[in-house]
Symmetry: C2
Subunit: 431 residues, 2 copies
């Protein structure tokens, strides 16, 4: 698990000074250009939020961004590989590795090169903001349109299946799939987007953007559970990232996986639009029965405290179950799924509003929020994780009348990167 370290003085600020001369030289500026590139040395902590000065380590036995305490923002992209040359892929992974390490440390993507030249520059002066970059490999890396482009087809893990079509799926092709995934998480949205944008720039001609999604969570105290846009706490029954045994059991790939994937995980992304206008018209008790939890406290229905155990056998005076048969928490509970668990790390998303047609009577047309949940979960094996659990939810969950899955993907996230290695090296070099 990655531990947060307090970094030295945010490096992007120092860097600006260090390479100012280079910047001026590269730009062919007169000598005066050197001085102009300096920033005030007495910069204060940006916005007074000390967390933003923290650095999450890039190198390690695990990739960051999985059991890292959730940052406030994400920018997640799926990319398609367009070069069929294995050397291009390897070179890209090399470059991505060094750039990711640099950006995670609060530097620009190519330290030593003038930031304004090597980098789109919008993070100059910004803190590291706990940036993490988490890479995933989609099925298309191994085989695409019947072609084994990189000689990796034999190494596609069995668990990297094609996601089945779930009940109610409304997936948009241009928001779904991808050969690679890159999830940037940071405590500033500008830092997260910047990181992915530099990786895309550094790989022009080798890969290109397929889809991208921003996300956010509210800023809350360290032991609180964030609320999603439905107003409910989301993540109460998540296995704890501090429970190493649970993480081993449910998140990290073990001996059953290939060497390059050990200590890695599988990520499932789902862009879930929520019909907030519809939800907002529902009475509180209906909302609570839909989730199976009380809204304000987050406690299971009929209980007092958020972390009280789920008693799925409890019945009310009328003999009916206190937690309805099709309540979300009942269907998602491990006990309802042969013990299956996934580690959720979801964000809300908000892409504004657009014209849409309601999915419920009286089927009105109009402008509706394009907002909801950017669902992200990690698991040791998607067949016994997301696929198993969501196959049931997709059929019976009362929530389904308010949500529509419009995109996403499944990616195998390799283990962490040791200094000197590059992302995915152990996969590439097995062949």
């Amino acid at each position: 698990m990655s531990g947060t370290t307090r970094g030295p003085r945010p490096s992007r600020r120092g860097l600006v000074q260090a390479v100012a001369g280079l910047a001026a030289a590269a730009a062919g500026l007169p000598k005066g250009g050197v001085a102009e590139a300096r920033v005030e040395p007495e910069c204060t902590s940006p916005a007074g939020d000390h967390r933003e000065n923290l650095i999450e380590p890039f190198w390690g036995t695990r990739q960051g961004g999985i059991t890292t305490p959730p940052q406030r923002h994400t920018y997640t992209a799926a990319l398609d590989l367009v070069s069929t040359k294995r050397n291009d892929l390897v070179r890209m992974l090399h470059i991505w590795t060094s750039a990711s390490a640099a950006m995670s440390a609060g530097q620009t993507a190519q330290p030593g090169v003038a930031p304004a030249v090597s980098d789109s520059g919008e993070v100059i002066g910004l803190p590291p903001a706990r940036l993490t970059l988490t890479f995933g490999f989609g099925a298309g890396l191994f085989m695409k349109d019947g072609k084994d482009r990189y000689g990796l087809a034999a190494h596609r893990p069995r668990a990297l299946v094609d996601l089945p079509s779930f009940n109610g799926d409304q997936l948009i092709e241009t928001r779904t799939g991808g050969d690679l995934s890159v999830q940037a998480c940071a405590d500033q949205p500008q830092v997260a987007f910047h990181a992915v944008r530099q990786l895309v720039r550094l790989a022009y001609g080798v890969t290109r953007l397929r889809w991208a999604q921003t996300g956010f969570i509210p800023g809350i105290g360290p032991n609180e559970t964030p609320r999603n846009l439905m107003g409910f706490k989301d993540g109460t029954s998540n296995p704890s990232m501090n429970d190493a045994a649970a993480m081993e059991q449910f998140v990290w790939v073990g001996d059953e996986g290939p060497d390059w994937l050990r200590g890695g995980s599988y990520v499932v992304f789902r862009r879930i639009r929520i019909a907030l206008e519809h939800w907002d018209r529902m009475p509180l008790d209906f909302q609570e029965r839909t989730f199976g939890r009380h809204k304000v406290s987050g406690a299971p229905l009929g209980r007092r405290n958020e972390f009280d155990p789920l008693d799925l056998d409890a019945a009310g005076e009328d003999g009916d179950p206190v937690i309805p048969e099709s309540a979300h928490v009942r269907l998602a509970a491990p006990v309802s799924n042969d013990g299956a668990q996934i580690f959720r790390r979801p964000y809300s998303y908000n892409d504004g509003a657009d014209f849409t047609i309601e999915r419920w009577p009286p089927w009105r047309q109009g402008v509706a929020y394009d907002a909801g949940l950017f669902f992200v979960c990690y698991q040791r094996d998607p067949r016994t994780g997301f696929i198993k659990i969501f196959s049931k939810l997709a059929k019976y969950d009362m929530l389904n009348q308010f949500v529509t899955h419009t995109g996403g993907g499944l990616f195998a996230c390799p283990g962490g990167v040791a200094p000197g290695e590059f992302v995915g090296q152990r996969l590439i070099e097995t062949t």
Copy 2:
């Protein structure tokens, strides 16, 4: 001008406890439901950012959100009025006023009513986050489709013109215009969206959403200029919000306007998509000549420091102007516009990526960032402000090859609301 006050302990937290009993009662819960709604009393400052506990005053001679120090996030919506009854409009403005005051103070939209019932609830436990709500009136409030729905047609201010069609406009109808505007700004995106969502909920049947846009700026030090997604500092030559004389001259409507608009302003919104992929391929010196400023320092071309004065007459050794004829800063400068100035309060936006067709050779098709600038500016008179300045920019600005205006609107923002008043009361009661 609104001054930031340090609020008491975030009220939404206290409120949760105060109305927990109500929540349980309204939900028809057993008595145990009361206790379950309590939150831990020892909550710490969320995320360690003390700014988020600050409250911006709602009541005052000016609306908040104009010369308020920019919050990190915005959620801005335009709405269309669908009820033709004047009483509905008045009632809505009453309700919006009390809800806005409450939410700005860190409470739920209808204090005293159980939050989970009156409110979508996703801000329970969140700090006030310096929320401001800024209201604007569009032309449609006064006259729409030839109808004077509310008896206000005679009071349409002369300066509330229909925006002309500018060179290069690519406005999408569903992203443009609106009878009313509500701009929420806050240091948490969830707080900003929540506020607008509650106002929409409270006005079902009277008004409905037309378009909505999220935006963000980086978190920086108090005396730094934020960078936009092109990597340049944006706002260096803005008139200072601390310069009361400049604000009177360029921002606040004076005696030339109707009573209800005095102390108010006009806002122009423009959703400006930036072809970041194109921009990122341009050499640094070309980018700098396009803006007329150095990228890292923000100084005018040929100068050293961000706030060095623009010398538009300076010529290089070759006799050409140091700041090109069609550089953005030259065309936007007051001296190039008969002294005209506007007060910019822009946000970046990031709606992910979508399929698009390039506007430049070789006119490729593909997935491109749907990101750019959510331009927001305030002015005393749009005819001598945005319209005057942008008419020239739209024709000659070198930036135009990278940007596309896809939506927005013009709204008259009434003066501030005194306690006991409602938003727009002085307009409504003139008739």
